[in-house]
Symmetry: C2
Subunit: 126 residues, 2 copies
C-alpha cells in the first residue's frame, strides 16, 4: 500500500462518510464538508480511499458513483455483494444487508459486484 498523508480535506471527507447513514455522491460530500476543496481533490481522495479498501464505490442506476464506508468489511474479508437502494425522490443511496451470490458460467471470473435497486423509500413513498 502506498504511503499516505493526513490532510484536512481528507479527514473531512472521511468524517462526512462516517457520519452519513447512506452512501454519498461526490456532490453530496462537497456540500457536506465546510473546508473548501477542489472538485478534483475530492475525487482523488475518494479514489484513494477505494484503493485502500477504506470505502467502497457503488455505481447507481443514474450512472453516478456513490461512496460508502466499509463498515463490516474489515471483518468479513471485504465482500460487497449486497444490494443498495436508491430513492428516486430524495436520492439517498443506502445499503440493504442482503448478501447475494451470483452464479457465473464456467470460465468466468468476477472482480466486482454492483447491485442497485431504485424506487421510493418510506419517507418519500407517502
Amino acid at each position: 500500500m502506498k504511503k499516505r498523508r493526513n490532510t484536512a480535506t481528507q479527514t473531512a471527507v472521511l468524517a462526512s462518510l462516517q457520519e452519513a447513514e447512506s452512501a454519498l455522491s461526490h456532490e453530496m460530500i462537497q456540500e457536506k464538508i465546510t473546508a473548501k476543496a477542489d472538485r478534483t481533490t475530492i475525487y482523488r481522495i475518494l479514489n484513494r480511499f477505494c484503493d485502500d479498501g477504506l470505502v467502497h464505490r457503488i455505481v447507481a442506476d443514474d450512472g453516478k458513483q456513490y461512496f460508502a464506508i466499509c463498515s463490516e468489511c474489515e471483518a468479513n474479508d471485504h465482500r460487497h455483494d449486497h444490494f443498495h437502494f436508491r430513492c428516486l425522490n430524495c436520492d439517498k443511496v443506502e445499503c440493504l444487508d442482503q448478501e447475494v451470490s451470483v452464479n457465473l458460467p464456467t470460465g468466468y471470473r468476477t472482480t466486482n459486484f454492483n447491485g442497485v435497486v431504485s424506487g421510493y423509500c418510506r419517507a418519500c413513498n407517502a
Copy 2:
C-alpha cells in the same frame, strides 16, 4: 402508448439489438448499423424502445447504459430482475439468467432493478 412510425434507423437499431448476443451500448449500436444516423437520434430511439417496453436498459458499473432486447419479457410480465455480466476486457455485457429477489424494508417500493457483475469472461480470462 404513443403512436410510432417506422423509420430506417429505427429498424436498423432494433435489428442490431436482435442480432446481438449481448447488450449493446449506444456506441456499439452506432458502429453496427450501416445507415448513418445522428448520435442523438439513436439515443432517442433507444429511449423510445425502453418506454415501449421493447428493450431494457442496464446501467453498468462503468456508468454507461447498455440496451438489450426483452426476449422473454412478453411472457413473464416484464421482470428484469436478473444480473448482467460485463467483461472488463472485451466490454461485452451479457445476461445471466438468474432471477434474484431483493428484500426491501417495509414502506419501500421498488421500480427498477439493476444488477451488474463485472470481471473477465471465458474468452478473456485466458
